[in-house]
């Protein structure tokens, strides 16, 4: 797990003698720790409070999602993907459905695509809100958490009204949607947009110019764009480092090319920039939602998809821009009803690799901030 080029493996055998004579202190953070966002275990090698290096130990939440896929039909596997990034279940579903659609060479009808975009972007806002709340909580500001959860509730209500579930929605079907948008869906979404816009200002009011917040986040966990690309880091983390890479623009899927939105980028690649990027992303998502709601076409919501799906032999890789970064599905089909192999490229897992680079030379308290800013979900890291 440790990259030998950058870090010699941690010596966990020799016990640390004292704070003083030993230059290094090895401390174990997690898997039961309030700030590791789940069951992440981080082994820190410290000099006093300075981090010399760290190693992530993962797998405490491993459920073998990819293996399960090999024993399920394409349709049956669909709900499983919701359980990976449970914070952004809709995005996961979108990625999977589109990947299978690509394999089947079908395309969802326009109306389905529009509703998909609305739900996915709503989900992106929900995910970012949850991130903001927990991240601020890690840095010690307890109030934003309650604000974001209050507003996230509105999104979850829309999900619940649409498909009956709040968290693991299973909103999409291969080839389109199972449910037609309910009566008043558009009105709800419009209401939500006008409701949440001032709320985002409210979060920013609490944090953006807060001196302590600035001191805690500026210059913390800096990572350059080059390093990001080398490590495969994607999503807001990459964009905050100044690389303008968003799959919605770079390889448009699901109708995104019809919408007018901007990709925010940062300059310094520090925690504060990542915060700003995500805040702007929320606003951009609102913009997309507004356009999508205005332009929902009438028409069918399901493409013609066979009842028993037997995709032709072959393989397909399809990636989407999930809230946390590039979420890719690589599916190998042997022509049967079940995938021969399904591999997920989860953004959290890849982004977590950057933790070591970002934390070197920082203090213990910064590790917390950096874990928060990476926005990992352990369900997705461990799968």
């Amino acid at each position: 797990m440790t990259d030998p080029k950058t870090l010699s493996p941690l010596d966990l055998e020799t016990p640390d003698k004292t704070f003083l004579d030993a230059n290094e202190l090895v401390i174990n953070m997690g898997p039961q720790h309030p700030a590791t966002h789940g069951v992440l275990r981080v082994i820190l090698r410290l000099d006093g409070e300075k981090v010399l290096g760290l190693e992530c130990v993962i797998g405490y939440l491993h459920r073998g999602v990819e293996k399960i896929a090999e024993n399920r039909t394409y349709t049956m596997f669909n709900p499983y993907v919701d359980r990976m990034d449970y914070v952004a279940a809709v995005s996961n579903g979108l990625g999977y459905c589109e990947a299978v659609e690509k394999l089947l060479s079908v395309e969802a009808p326009p109306r389905a695509q529009y509703i998909r975009v609305i739900l996915t972007e709503l989900n992106r806002i929900a995910s970012h809100q949850l991130w903001l709340g927990t991240h601020a909580l890690d840095i010690g500001a307890i109030t934003p958490l309650f604000y974001t959860f209050r507003d996230r509730e509105e999104i979850l209500k829309i999900f619940e009204k649409y498909c009956g579930a709040r968290l693991t929605t299973h909103a999409f079907r291969i080839g389109g949607l199972q449910y037609e948008a309910y009566e008043g869906f558009e009105k709800d979404v419009k209401n939500f947009v006008s409701f949440v816009r001032p709320k985002i200002d409210e979060y920013e009011e609490l944090l953006t110019t807060n001196r302590i917040w600035l001191e805690r986040t500026k210059g913390v966990g800096v990572i350059s764009g080059k390093d990001c690309i080398a490590l495969g880091v994607t999503g807001p983390v990459l964009r905050a480092s100044g690389v303008k890479w968003d799959i919605r623009k770079a390889q448009p899927y699901a109708n995104y090319k019809n919408f007018d939105f901007e990709i925010p980028t940062g300059e310094n690649g520090d925690t504060y920039d990542r915060y700003l990027v995500r805040m702007v992303e929320m606003r951009q998502s609102l913009r997309i939602i507004e356009q999508a709601v205005e332009g929902i076409p009438e028409g069918p919501i399901m493409a013609k998809v066979p009842k028993v799906m037997k995709p032709p032999m072959g393989e397909v890789y399809h990636s989407i821009e999930a809230p946390k970064g590039e979420l890719g599905y690589f599916i190998v089909s042997d022509g049967s009803t079940q995938p021969y192999r399904l591999r997920v490229r989860p953004p959290s897992f890849v982004n977590l690799q950057a933790l070591d680079v970002m934390c070197r030379g920082q203090l213990v308290a910064d590790v917390i901030a950096v874990i928060g800013t990476l926005d990992i979900v352990l369900g997705e890291v461990d799968r």
Partner: protein, 430 residues
């Protein structure tokens, strides 16, 4: 028997505190009163903090135990007392056992010299401020030993952080205090370290030291206000118990009764440092504008405020009683809330009795000022993220210390400007 009665009643006419008057009976009564009052204040703080914080965070806070969660602190206390008291296997048992008591002792002993009024204090010490600073600095011993005795990494780190933090902020705190003490020397009876003397000196100079030598007084107060938050390990300086980093800092391994002692100590320490701030800068027990709005009419008007405050609180209770859902399930709660309002109203009415009114006025204003600080603490907690350790040290040593030193010199120069001016004239004329 008659002597005893005389001994007891002699204090009531005294213009000194029982300790200074050598009246042991009343001193003990005051010790008891302060102890009970402090415990009640901590309980109230517990409830208020949760409620205020909750309302800041768009939620309700405790609502289940009693009307509006009024009995929640009592339920919490019961839970803590009944909880198993765990001593970790590798812990140093004696030290682990003693540590919380050191902290509590330090936090409570401070109140020996807190002046709730010119005669309402356990004793008036010649070195009151010094005593307060000294004793409150003893709390760090308890914290360090607690962290060490737990024999675990996180508590030890919390303890080391905490001790470093408290020791460094004591310096800035001391400097701010000295600048206030220097201001006392401008009054007729000369400079003093006695807590009561400091308030009397403000009364005599006709100005709260907060506004003295504007803006020097306010800056000194600001330094103290920052340092006191750090000193009590509260947000945004709550690193020793930084939840997200060190789980709970030095008291990670504590549970049950011992943990509740730390809790008690934290809140009484908050009240203690707020009392120092109130005494030094906000005129202690003096009511607002004692010199501007003087005369019997104003005196009467201000002395009615305590009673009115309690009547207002009682009114709030009755209003909420009327708003309670009319459902059999809520009957007990409704009655409870009404009863609570009744008690508050009775207290309010008692406070209108002239004999009580005169005696309690001081205590009311002092408590009201301290309560303002308590609200500030909660407000900070609701608003600020947490400082990082090096930033905290930077604020302490590189900002507060130089500012405090400069302030000290400036205060001395401004305070002695007439003498300095005279000397300069002398030199020039020579």
């Amino acid at each position: 028997m008659h002597d005893l009665v005389q001994y007891i009643t002699s204090y009531l006419d005294s213009d000194q505190t029982p300790g200074a008057a050598g009246n042991i009976f009343w001193a003990l009564v005051y010790v008891l009163l302060v102890f009970v009052g402090l415990s009640i204040a901590v309980i109230c703080m517990n409830w208020l903090e949760r409620k205020i914080l909750a309302h800041m965070q768009v939620r309700l806070g405790p609502m289940r135990v009693g009307p509006h969660g009024l009995l929640q602190p009592i339920a919490d206390a019961l839970k803590l007392l009944l909880k198993e008291d765990i001593i970790p296997a590798g812990a140093d048992k004696i030290v682990f056992w003693i540590a919380p008591f050191i902290v509590v002792l330090a936090a409570f002993t401070v109140f020996v010299v807190v002046p709730f009024g010119p005669t309402h204090a356990i004793t008036d010490m010649n070195i009151g401020v010094l005593f307060m600073l000294g004793v409150s600095s003893l709390a760090v011993l308890g914290i360090v030993t607690a962290g060490w005795a737990s024999n675990s990494h996180y508590p030890l780190m919390g303890a080391l952080r905490s001790s470093a933090q408290m020791v460094s902020y004591e310096v800035a705190m001391g400097l701010a205090v000295v600048s206030a003490i220097m201001m006392t020397s401008l009054s007729e009876q000369g400079g003093t370290l006695s807590m009561i003397g400091i308030v009397q000196s403000q009364q005599q100079q006709g100005i709260w030291f907060l506004f003295k030598f504007f803006p020097l007084g306010i800056i000194a107060f600001g330094i103290f206000a920052i340092a006191m938050v750090a000193e009590t390990n509260r947000a945004p300086f709550d690193l020793p118990e930084a939840e997200s980093e060190l789980t709970a800092g030095f008291h990670t391994e504590y549970s049950g009764f011992r943990w509740s002692l730390f809790f008690l100590a934290e809140y009484s320490a908050m009240i203690a440092v707020s009392s120092i701030a109130v005494t030094l800068w906000l005129g202690g027990w003096l009511r607002p504008f004692p010199n501007l709005l003087n005369g019997p009419t104003w005196d009467l008007a201000f002395s009615l405020i305590p009673g009115l405050t309690f009547l207002f609180l009682a009114g709030m209770c009755f209003y909420n009683t009327a708003r309670m859902p009319k459902h059999p399930l809520f009957r007990i709660q409704t009655i409870g809330l009404a009863g609570f309002g009744l008690v508050l109203g009775l207290i309010g009415l008692i406070l209108f009795v002239p004999a009580v009114r005169v005696r309690v006025n001081d205590i009311f204003w002092f408590s009201a000022k301290v309560a303002g600080f308590m609200y500030l603490y909660i407000w900070y907690r609701g608003t600020f993220p947490r400082y990082r350790f090096d930033q905290l040290m930077k604020v302490g040593w590189k900002v507060l210390l130089p500012v405090g030193l400069t302030l000290l010199i400036l205060t001395a120069v401004v305070g002695m400007r007439t003498e300095l001016w005279a000397q300069m004239q002398e030199v020039l004329h020579r």
